[in-house]
């Protein structure tokens, strides 16, 4: 299994969630990117997630999209899903390219990089201020 940590820019949350549904198991994947809890140096907001996938899933996620078998009612907006996939910037430590930073309009995903380490490498910090004292 491979750990994926991904951050979706606030500007493409809907597309990222449609994409997540398209490569996922059910309509529940529409909640994959929830909560704009991460920000870049310019204050742009992101929703993040982290999960384990098989190598086969990882390949399929980067191939041309097709309506998932579970979606028999046309629930997934395939146009938005393709926009989500087009926004994907995937990176793995074994690639010979620099790790991409998160940026507005992008869905940035790292493989096998640790969760907090991946988000930090994307240039993201948590919005939640530990000194804020949430009740």
């Amino acid at each position: 299994m491979i750990r994926i940590t991904a951050a979706a820019s606030a500007t493409i949350i809907d597309a990222a969630n449609q994409y997540a549904m398209c490569i996922g198991q059910s309509s529940a994947e529409i909640d994959t990117y929830q909560g704009l809890n991460w920000q870049d140096a310019d204050g742009n907001l992101y929703a993040a997630t982290s999960f384990m996938v098989s190598p086969e899933w990882l390949v399929a996620a980067q191939e041309p999209l097709a309506r998932p078998a579970w979606d028999t009612t046309g629930f997934v907006d395939m146009v938005l899903a393709e926009q989500g996939q087009a926004a994907l910037r995937f990176w793995s430590p074994d690639m010979d390219t620099p790790a991409p930073l998160a940026a507005p309009g992008l869905l940035t995903a790292y493989a096998n990089s640790g969760i907090q380490e991946a988000l930090a490498a994307m240039g993201l910090t948590e919005v939640n201020d530990p000194a804020a004292g949430e009740e």
Binding site: T49, N128, D129
Partner: protein, 382 residues
Amino acid sequence: MILRDVLSPVLSNVLVGLLGSVSFSPAELFAAGEPGQLMPVDPAYLYQDTAGTTLVTAPGQSVALNKDQSGRGSHDTQATAGSRPIYGKHPANGYRNMLYGSDTLVTQNVTTIATQKTLSFTGTGAVTLTGTYIGALVGIGAGRTSLTFTPTAGTLTLTVTGSVTLAMLEDAAAFTTYQRTGASSGVAWPTPPSYDITEAGQPDLHYLHYNGVSSFMVSPTITPGIDKAQVFVGVRKLSDAAQAMLLELSTNAGATPNSFSLQAPGPGTSFRFVSGGSITAAGIADATGFPAPTARVLTGISDIAGDNATLRVNGVQAAQSTSDQGTGNFLAYPIYTGRRGGTSLPLNGLVYSKIVRFGANLTAAQIASTESWTAQRNGVAL
């Protein structure tokens, strides 16, 4: 005769103690139909789908359904794949091996801090260390060879050549009993390097890993019908980087009357228990000075009419608020575990068991028994 008279009460007390601890079941807390949740993390109750048709069969699998054992059917679920916690196990004496795939080691990176470490393994191969420490260790065959060193903070790369077996890297001045680790969890220390860690002679502890980003579970709406609640959680807090929600009645107990929350951490390195009636979040109990990583038994005791919000840590009262919480019973909400309302304050930690009970105040003996039960599940010595 005299000796027997002297020993009898002592032995009797020992037997009562033993039988008492053996016979206690937290199901007793729900015997009168009290609402709540009773959730030892046990693969017998964990499912890979929300419908409950496919059991979790191995560490590293994500959990979509955790079946409540209170008898109330307040099961935790998570329909979204990317938000599910992951089931794992480690030995009762904790996890020390910082490597994954330790039976036959492959080249890998480890996040280190500047503390003394010992690398050991069997086999005829070699491990070259680069990054936060420069060195090498060559195997001697069937015997265990070791190297003790102190790296700097950062990333230590272990490059493997040849046969390196039964490998272990630990925070110690000498190697200790071997711990076998399975496939990588893909998460940096102090999170377990693998969701499958075992040690000969040690029973397994079972946990759910909440990843500090997206994982959480939620119960159905629970109708408490009373103004008193008790919460018992066995947890290993892995980070103090940001305030995090261990569990919460409602989507935000800080803004919702007649609800409560338990936080790990609260502000700083604390644990926080918050309880409020008609006066929202009026009772705040902060137990300070518990820096991560740390495994603890947390007990939250709440009584709205009694103006009590108490937080116990490892069986000892650590904080209490007697502020006026107002009036009313706890209201009907779901319980969120691992994230506030499913959207913010994500928990970075391991949860070994969870009990939430809405019912009359417990006796000191009942609290102690439940804390002991909880401690057995996360390896804490009370």
